[in-house]
């Protein structure tokens, strides 16, 4: 089975976000594999171990993305592809990424593509479904279980806390939700082996693309931090009065009622 994983590097969840001049500062920030993509890597490895085949991890990023690819290789993926847009593209959006991936997959034989449900940075959740659409492939998002039997695939999907069971077939693209599995730690033997696994680096030229085709379809107007949380307030007095005061505050002050 040819299994592909779409992977993105994101800020470490412990990083503090600093915005200056309308940009998020990433100087010196620690990066990790997007946690949802980690579920995808883990699932890909499990499916390969069960059904045979090969896991290829693909990222659209920059030179530093190699670290996250190596981590995926250390977890057990077989091959990695870095599509490095650092020198060619000033900016990009979900359209850009989808377009690049579409070109990449054009000549690939694919049975299964796994991606994260969303990336924890911009959280659009679009690249997976849009890519499936472009590749003419069925897709299921936010999956929490994946069982493959021949060409038949049984998927469980998280629907706002409920479970939806979907029967579909390969080739297929899925996006992974928390609960699907428990990603493994890259073992030390895995880390040592990852050094020797193939990591191919491509630029958009190699995919016969040029900058104009990749112009983003959206424009980021502003980037700002959420307002700081204000101090809480403890209401006092009889319970009945407290309730009345609360209702009045919700109506008049925060205007949520």
């Amino acid at each position: 089975m040819n299994i592909y994983v779409l992977l993105k590097k994101t800020f470490d969840t412990e990083e503090k976000i600093v915005v200056s001049n309308g940009q998020i500062e990433d100087d010196g920030a620690e990066f990790i594999i997007n946690p949802y993509d980690e579920y995808a890597v883990e699932e890909a490895i499990k499916q390969r171990d069960a059904h045979g085949g090969e896991v290829t991890v693909v990222t659209v990023g920059d030179e530093d993305s190699e670290k996250q690819l190596r981590t995926a290789l250390a977890m057990g993926a077989d091959k990695a592809v870095l599509i490095n847009t650092e020198d060619d593209l000033e900016e990009g959006d979900q359209f850009t990424t989808t377009k690049i991936l579409e070109a990449f997959f054009e000549d690939k034989e694919v049975d299964l593509i796994l991606a994260g449900n969303v990336a924890i940075d911009e959280a659009s959740g679009q690249v997976g479904p849009r890519l499936a659409e472009r590749l003419g492939m069925p897709y299921v998002t936010t999956i929490t279980s994946l069982e493959i039997d021949g060409d038949t695939v049984n998927v469980e999907k998280d629907v706002e806390g409920d479970v939806e069971k979907v029967l579909t077939s390969l080739p297929l693209l899925v996006t992974c939700q928390q609960g699907l599995n428990d990603p493994r730690y890259p073992s030390l033997p895995g880390i040592m082996k990852a050094k020797k696994k193939p990591l191919e680096e491509l630029e958009i030229d190699d995919l016969d693309l040029d900058e104009d085709e990749l112009e983003p379809k959206t424009k980021t107007v502003d980037i700002f931090l959420p307002p700081e949380k204000e101090a809480g307030r403890v209401l006092e007095g009889e319970v009945e009065d407290q309730v009345k005061e609360l209702v009045s505050l919700l109506k008049n002050e925060s205007k949520v009622l």
């Binding site: 250390a74 730690y185 890259p186 030390l188 033997p189 880390i191 040592m192 990852a194 050094k195």
Partner: protein, 594 residues
Amino acid sequence: MSETKEKLFKGGGFLVEDINGEDVITPEDFTDEHQMIAKTTEEFVAGEVLPLVDNLENHEFEHSVDLLKKAGELGLLGADVPEEYGGLGLDKISSSLITEKFSRAGGFSVTHGAHVGIGSLPIVFFGNEDQKQKYLPKLASGELLAAYALTEPGSGSDALGAKTTAKLNEAGTHYILNGEKQWITNSAFADVFVVYAKIDGEHFSAFIVERDYPGVSTGPEEKKMGIKSSSTRTLILEDAEVPVENLLGEKGKGHRIAFNILNVGRYKLAIGGVGGSKRGIELATKYVNERKQFGTAISSFSLTQEKLATMAARTYANESAVYRTVGLFEQRMGSMTDEQLADGREVAKAIAEYQIECSMNKYTATECLDYVADEAVQLHGGYGFMQEYEVERIYRDSRINRIFEGTNEINRLLVPGTLLKKAMKGELPLLQKAQGLQEELMMMMPEEVGTEPLEQEKHLLRNAKKIVLLGAGLAAQKYMQKLEKEQEILVNLADMVAEVYNMESAILRTEKAINKSGLEKNNQKLLYTQVYVQEAFNRIEADAKETLIAVEQGDTLRMMLSSLRKLTRHEPTNVIAKKREIAANIIEAEKYVV
């Protein structure tokens, strides 16, 4: 590996040689693999060990066994075990990073360290082929767990005074061991003990003793001040039957194993001390940012900042020094043939070359940890005294580090003693340098110190080395062979030598980093170095003065003190201002940053 130019330094050689940043290995040289190994360890500790800390502290050792087996699956037990015996045979930086990252696990890091270090390494270094084949693969996987049994109720620092005996039985098939070993880490569950006993009451030797052998048992669990997550019991040997093939190394040569293993134990404790210090700084910084008094976060008070900065500068110097030592092992092992590397004894020898460095790292890094733990509690105020705060456990866990693997006092006494031995044997030109110094001091003119980064620090370092030579030369001349009875002076010398090593390590690391990526990116490193070097220099000056006054009198003393004044003349750094700058960066990052 880093592209550091291979230049081999002798143990203790830093006192007399000129060394450049490019000659040392620093944390900035770690490769991506090193960082991935560190990260896996970090995640394993955070994800698997820490959720069970309460259980472990409660002596539920089934979890210890289970966690060690899980660690084994990830390869976290096999770094120092060669590949042909089921390990990974990684470089010493990798295994050191594992040790550093395990330190957050508190008492469980002692469990891990005892297994992979003093428990397994005697077999790695000194086992014969059969012993290695039999034990190492299972030790690397965690199927067997190891412990180390040297200390006895009557012999601690005086390890060779052990009373445990071994006697060959009549059939010549087994040694019969009798005695009691005390404070044995991992004893509740270890399958294999490396035990020292005297054959026929006189030949100090090491044995591999399995728990299941007849006559082997353990006593009740000790009630300890800290590292409660680790198991500590006596090992009781009552006519214990140990097959003759389990004699480890040669009969009567047990001390060789014991001393070599102590070197390893020492530098590993130093690395753990650095890891623990970083954690202490992180906890303290998060707390002072959160805690408000007088209407403001207490991190905004400059006294809070002073504490954080001092903790961090000291941690930086120690981190630089311990990884420099690990780098020295690596450089030496890099110069060995494959055949030598395959011979564990040669590897142990390469490490033993740096026994001075191992000892110094041990006492300065464990005291750094104790200092950081103490101040981290202090910064937590009353909350730091409460068990629900991690810092309370760190404070208790820290204390043992100054005691085990040779007390810090024993380690201090070893440093000048070993240096003098090396000087006498002609391995280090210390005495020649000390003599040359006398003449130099007569003519000495004040040195013009430049204003480029690190010039002042290098100047202080050069003079600090001279002060050490002055003190050591004088003491050696005065007391000759009787110097070993002057323990206060030896300890002063040991402190001065260690400060020199730490100062130099910080300077070289910062210099190397600035050469590589510029001053702007390494400003924090520069600040740490400036602060640490100034403060260390002040301590050296005080120690030297006390030493001279104790050794000499009258005119000679006055002359000596005047020499010291020449050597300590400098324009001091404003450390208060520098510390505020340091603290600002830590407070923003909420952790130790370089």
